[in-house]
């Protein structure tokens, strides 16, 4: 194997909550280049689909990247059943643009839901390094589903937790935390990464309050390099490719309805693919 052919080996694996795992993957060249807000495409196995995953950390010297993978369907499950010592067939990146980093006069609030909590950590570090006060907000249905809280605390000045059932932190949604924060201090910029309904709620709220809002769009992707147009999203009335122009966009300009519709493009096929896979596993 030549100098550039990388072996994308699983170095560590840790369960964060049901069906969701943290992985360290050996990928020295990607680790050297990756920036906050960017993502990679993986194929767990030889015939797998290509799927995009955010990066929640990296170590440039030791040559690994960190991922959070939630098994949503077939391909993410192919990934999450990998164990330490196994390898991912392909890992490509870094893809997309770096998150928007600037110096603000008010606080920056970064909100994560699900795997999105991992994705905001590198951006939190960069914003802090740029001299900002950075507040993290993690939301989940219940306490046991909150993930990466300690890591986020390391990267932020302060972290709020919200749970729908009130088992810990503020009862309700991440928007409730944003309300609380705004009562105490000026907020200049918000980044939300998570399920689309959460991003919609944050975009609506910040629009009313006149706060800058970034969202990371999880459109369906094939190549991840701007070649196919599968990831088309409408932002400010213009067609953009989420993989190339994004994944972060101005939340006030995103056509979320279209995004949600397009995310459902293959639901029937996804079920069939998963059934074929579990069928094969059982055999």
């Amino acid at each position: 194997m030549g100098k550039y052919n990388q072996d994308f080996k699983v170095l560590t694996k840790r369960e964060l909550c049901a069906n969701t795992y943290h992985f360290k993957i050996q990928a020295p060249l990607i680790a050297k280049k990756i920036l906050a807000g960017q993502f990679i495409m993986i194929r767990p196995n030889e015939n797998s689909e290509r799927i995009p995953l955010s990066i929640c950390g990296w170590n440039r010297e030791e040559g690994y990247i960190e991922l959070i993978i939630m098994s949503a369907g077939r391909t993410s499950t192919e990934a999450t059943i990998k164990e330490v010592g196994d390898s991912f067939k392909d890992v490509v990146g870094p893809l997309g643009q770096r998150s928007h980093i600037a110096k603000y006069d008010g606080a920056c609030v970064l909100m994560g839901g699900g795997y999105g909590t991992g994705a905001i950590i590198p951006t939190a570090r960069d914003l802090k390094e740029a001299g900002n006060r950075v507040i993290g907000v993690v939301g989940a249905r219940s306490e046991n589903l909150l993930l990466m809280v300690d890591e986020l605390k390391d990267a932020c000045d302060e972290v709020y937790l919200t749970t729908n059932d009130g088992s810990i932190g503020i009862e309700g949604f991440v928007t409730h935390a944003l309300e609380e924060i705004q009562k105490k201090e000026k907020v200049s910029s918000v980044l939300a990464v998570g399920p689309v309904p959460m991003m919609i709620a944050v975009a609506n709220m910040t629009k009313e309050d006149g706060i800058e809002c970034w969202v990371s769009l999880n459109a369906i992707m094939v190549d991840g390099t701007g070649m196919c147009g599968a990831c088309r999203v409408t932002v400010g009335g213009k067609t953009k490719f989420a993989c190339f122009h994004g994944p972060d966009f101005n939340g006030h300009e995103v056509d979320f309805k279209e995004l949600m519709t397009r995310q459902k493009m293959f639901v029937d096929q996804e079920k069939i693919a998963m059934e074929a896979f579990t069928g094969a596993l059982e055999k």
Binding site: N47, E49, D90, G93, F244
Partner: protein
């Protein structure tokens, strides 16, 4: 080769012989699978077809071939049954003959200028090239070229399409250490994820990639230059003496009409990539999905459109082509258009889409078109389509845009010193293919904005010659890289 000394029939007799038609699977049969459409000549047919060449003293066909294959020479060898010799002759100029014999627009190149074609059908040069290459592969003839002693020079080639493969070949033969960097997990470029399997089987491309590796070319997959490594990394830290960019076009054009982001609306790149790179036609064994409805509308009438139409047909859809000009202006290779017409595909000429209409779930359900007519020829002699004011609406459940590509900005975005024009086409010196960045050359679709396999190869060959001079330290030219953002990409002037 003087033709009067040649034994056998007279030139006149040769010219009167009918062309050996390429045997095809019937249309009814072939639309049920993805196997190749033509079945290939037999040796007898090939020898007979080769004998139709009159061995011109000044063979125009050679000039019609962008890589300058010595066509009469290989035809003469083939006529005498020396297939191995014919293969060697072709390989002096073209290392992808099996692919080119299949996908070259011969009707616009070598065969367009063949003298026999003036009165009769031209000699089947493409079919014969294909025959020779297939025979060579099937009989496992030695294809390994002679490789010059190591020069100690390292060259990076970006992209493993026909341009990258050709440059790698040409540079390795000259003794350089060559590494190809490919963004995808497999090689071949658009020959794999654009051109369908029923026109170009994968084994052929893989054989050619294998040959490169046997020659000592390293192919690195999953490596996006401009992302994983930059051009500067290659030149400064990774120790490459020169770089050849062959990254293709790869940025799909859309129309910008309402409804084009509805579910079920694809670019040709997405549609074909899902199928031919990710094998969605073998879903769910291969889990990449494709939403394949019953009524497929394809917008455009170029090669890509023909490929999408015929692919859709094989996936079981009722297929219609919508094109704003008429049959005669369709840019597709004539054989492709003919095969599509045989395969029960409907064509709606002079139809320009103005809107796509969606159902309540956001899936496309209809296409609305304006009816066009052709204007009187303008100064350039081209008849432009103009709206008639009439329109019609058809029910469809899948739409594929096949409008061509602009150039993907990944590399120029990461290296501002490789200049592009306003369409993203990389600007190169038209003689040497040197870009505005020292030591960096470019060729293929990335400098033309989408052309053909053989043109991409021709450019790569030329560039390789100059890259060789560059790394050996005898590259002294007054470079002329256009800086005007309106400047067109490289144009190829042959077979006028």
């Amino acid at each position: 080769m003087a033709n009067n000394k040649r034994p056998g029939p007279s030139a006149k007799e040769r010219m009167a012989k009918p062309r050996n038609e390429m045997p095809l699977h019937s249309a009814e049969e072939r639309i049920r699978h993805f196997n190749e459409v033509p079945t290939g000549y037999s040796l007898e047919q090939a020898m007979d077809e080769a004998s139709r060449c009159i061995q011109c003293k000044k063979p125009d066909c050679i000039g019609g071939c962008p890589v300058g294959i010595n066509i009469p020479e290989f035809l003469l060898q083939l006529e005498g049954g020396d297939v191995a010799g014919a293969a060697k002759t072709i390989r002096q100029n073209n290392f992808l003959p099996a692919a080119c014999g299949r996908v070259c627009p011969q009707d616009k190149q070598c065969e367009a200028v063949c003298i026999v074609g003036k009165k009769n059908d031209s000699v089947g040069i493409g079919n014969l090239e294909r025959f020779v290459a297939d025979y060579e592969r099937e009989h496992d003839l030695d294809r390994m070229p002679e490789i010059a002693p190591d020069t100690g020079k390292k060259i990076a080639v970006i992209g493993s399409g026909p341009a990258g493969m050709t440059a790698a070949y040409e540079l390795r033969v000259r003794g350089h250490d060559v590494t190809i960097f490919e963004a995808f997990h497999r090689g071949g470029g658009v020959m794999v994820y654009g051109i369908p399997r029923f026109r170009l089987p994968l084994e052929i491309i893989d054989e050619d990639l294998k040959l490169l590796e046997e020659m000592g070319v390293e192919i690195v997959y999953d490596m996006i230059i401009g992302r994983t490594l930059s051009l500067d990394d290659l030149l400064e830290t990774e120790g490459f003496d020169s770089v050849f960019i062959a990254s293709g076009a790869g940025l799909p054009k859309m129309l910008g009409v309402p409804g084009e982001n509805l579910n079920g609306v694809y670019s040709a790149n997405e549609y074909l990539t899902r199928i031919y790179l990710m094998h969605a036609n073998y879903f769910p064994e291969h889990p990449t999905p494709i939403y394949q409805g019953k009524k497929l509308a394809v917008i455009g009438a170029g090669n890509t459109a023909m490929d999408v139409l015929r692919t859709g047909k094989r996936l079981g859809a009722e297929v219609t082509c919508y094109y704003r000009r008429s049959h005669d202006e369709a840019p597709a290779r004539s054989e492709e258009l003919e095969h599509a017409e045989q395969e029960f595909i409907d064509f709606k000429w002079l139809s320009s889409p103005i809107e796509f209409i969606g159902d309540e779930n956001g899936f496309v359900k209809a296409i609305k078109c304006e009816v066009m007519e052709l204007s009187e020829p303008d100064d350039s002699g081209r008849r432009r389509p103009v709206p008639t004011g009439e329109s019609f609406t058809d029910e469809v459940d899948t739409v594929v845009f096949s409008l061509g590509c602009d150039v993907n900005p990944t590399i120029p975005d990461s290296t501002r010193d490789v200049t592009t024009n306003k369409w993203g086409i990389m600007m190169v010196d038209p003689v040497t293919y040197h870009t505005s960045k020292p030591g960096v050359f470019a060729g293929g679709d990335t400098v033309t904005g989408g052309s053909t396999v053989i043109l991409a190869m021709g450019q790569a060959k030329t560039a390789a010659k100059y890259i060789h001079e560059y790394v050996m330290g005898n590259f002294e030219y007054e470079l002329n890289v256009p800086t005007d953002p309106e400047a067109p990409g490289v144009q190829w002037g042959f077979a006028k």
